[in-house]
Symmetry: C2
Subunit: 125 residues, 2 copies
């Protein structure tokens, strides 16, 4: 899987481009429809594209812009791609906040789909 870094980078461009352009729940189609999981700043996950879309719709901000600071991309034992992002986001008129986000992508039916995803805001101590 020589081009896992290029795949990972293209995925991030597409995911955050679509998330920030809105409506953000459109990214739900990038998750494995039945078993894709998303933790959104919570230890509990939404499972499957429908629950994930509902969770994303329920978030209260109107506009959002993500800026990536670092991306680390690794191939896995099972030919998946693991991506870890750190960066900053700006939601509505709130001050910028730092975040980290992890994606595990799997090639299913000719597409790279998200099977695991965890988003966390970084709380400053």
């Amino acid at each position: 899987m020589a081009d896992y870094k290029a795949i990972g980078k293209a995925f991030l461009d597409f995911y955050y481009g679509r998330f920030d352009a809105g409506p953000r729940e459109n990214v739900a189609s990038l998750y494995e429809p039945v078993n894709g999981m998303m933790n959104f700043n919570s230890p509990d996950f939404a499972k499957g594209a429908q629950e994930i879309a509902e969770k994303l719709r329920s978030l209260t901000f109107q506009t959002i812009a993500h800026t990536i600071s670092t991306m680390d991309i690794q191939p896995t034992y099972d030919n998946c791609i693991l991506i870890i992002v750190t960066g900053a986001l700006k939601a509505d008129n709130d001050p910028p906040m730092q975040f980290t986000e992890t994606f595990l992508l799997r090639f299913i039916n000719n597409s790279w789909l998200i099977i695991n995803n965890v988003f966390r805001l970084i709380l400053h101590g």
Copy 2:
């Protein structure tokens, strides 16, 4: 995999306990010996237990203490366990720094081993 959260939590206790007690390169035995990967605050990975031990030995701090703020634990499609940590660490007499760390664990030969690991310091903008 009903107890993936308990396994993940026990793993973190063991990993950071051993890392902080030192010598930190002792955690290298928790990685899959040949294919385990670690990115340590860099886009380039060390691969296999030996390279990982060398990388950890090369770090310049003498003492370190990790404090976990959040942990998110998900089972994966392939019966692995994905763990994302955010927290703070204190190295020597430096000011505390925030970090995020991701582990992908796989059950191999009766042990949960790390197959993928990414550590990142959070840089404050």
